[in-house]
Symmetry: C2
Subunit: 220 residues, 2 copies
DNA sequence: GGTAAAATCAGTATAAATACCGACAGGATT
DNA sequence: AATCCTGTCGGTATTTATACTGATTTTACC
């Protein structure tokens, strides 16, 4: 994929400029990698890739970003330009988020609280057609893999409708209001709430909100 | 405070190692500043400062960290070692968080989505006995200053007890449970809740949770 | 020593959420 | 054909939260 003469080109997408600048500084001494693009949101990143797909070999992206999330960005990239490798940079190590990333066909996933060395390891592995997942999240993947078809699901896979209801709950809507907005009965909303409580193992609406936040299921 | 011969020594506290490494990389070319200490939580940072107060001239710290928050760390530092400058690095630009920082006698406050240039400007200003607050948060400070004594207070200043109750609400406790934990009547908890709803302008408990998150009033 | 805010508690009433029960239609899967 | 999941509703009952009004004590501050 790359030799010493032609470094691997990177595109960094993160809404925190400090992270971008930090990574650029870290890699400034590296001859194997060169950052030749940056974006502060998913849509911007997508435009840059679409404008010149050959310019970017590895996409280093945050999960939660404005306009377009990292996972959505990843999906689009993998669909259109499967040659581009995607490495996620995330704050969260929750099972659901990791699972989302894997389903989006990510090549790697590292946490922001890891250091320079691990970043370089990840980039090396990924640019050589490998994958790299932080040590902290490997157990999550393992557990996920082995419990996938059990309904125990501490992670819970919510249906589309349930996610819709949850998003409105987080927006401070009452069941009545949600019913009106979705053109369904309040009773149906209650049923969805009950299922959400089960799947998220929450005790109350507050728990649902926490669940939504941790799993990136609501706009913030 | 410093000349070209003796660079300004920095201590960085952030639970995201990547931020620390990023800043170190950014400053590696700078002769004016030298990072000679790092910590991943507030307590660790405090230990390092207490161990050798002369080693650190500027403390660069995150707001939300495990064990001890950045604001608490700042308070202790300013109380014991007022010569140490404190620059906050934060994800949030909410009025309440900024106010907390200012009340803790911070010398500066910059957002993580700002870049290398602004970081250097901030460090220069602060190390020369000045202050530096990100452009984005200046309006917040201004507004805060002028609306301080009005009860309109879109930010709301919660009492210690109210914060205590709010923290438990976010932890999925019911009013009953909160009452038991704080050894007060459920009725009193209800009163606190009512005041919290007023001050936060929330419609329900969900709104309180959002408020707590946005203002960094609950552990996450 | 007065004033203001905070913290405490009570009563009453309504609104909202949760816990159960049961049901049925449609779609996908086996 | 049988099964499972999703989405859709209804009834009933209980628990929790919210909206009022009003009150006392403590604390802090001027």
């Amino acid at each position: 994929m790359s030799d010493l003469q032609t470094p691997v080109s990177l595109l960094i997408a993160d809404d925190h400029q400090m992270i971008i600048d930090g990574i650029k500084s870290m890699l400034s001494g590296e001859r194997h990698f060169v950052v030749n693009g940056e974006a502060n949101n998913g849509e911007d990143a997508w435009s840059r890739i679409a404008a010149d797909p050959g310019r970017c070999q590895v996409l280093l992206t945050d999960i939660s970003m404005p306009l377009m999330s990292g996972t959505e960005l990843c999906r689009k990239v993998k669909e259109q330009y499967p040659h581009i490798k995607v490495l996620f940079l995330s704050m969260y190590n929750s099972t659901a988020v990791v699972k989302e990333a894997v389903l989006a066909e990510a090549d790697g996933y590292i946490l922001k609280n890891t250091g320079k060395d691990e970043l370089l390891s990840a980039l090396h592995r990924i640019s050589q057609d490998g994958t790299y997942f932080s040590q902290e999240i490997v157990p999550l993947l393992y557990r996920q893999y082995h419990k996938e078809q059990q309904q125990s699901a501490e992670t819970a896979q919510l249906s589309a409708r349930e996610k819709e209801v949850l998003a409105l709950i987080v927006k401070e809507c009452t069941s009545e209001e949600i019913a009106q907005k979705l053109f369904i009965s309040k009773k149906t909303v209650d049923t969805h709430r009950a299922h959400l409580l089960e799947k998220s193992k929450a005790r109350s609406t507050v728990g649902l909100v926490r669940f939504a936040i941790k799993n990136g299921l609501a706009e913030w």
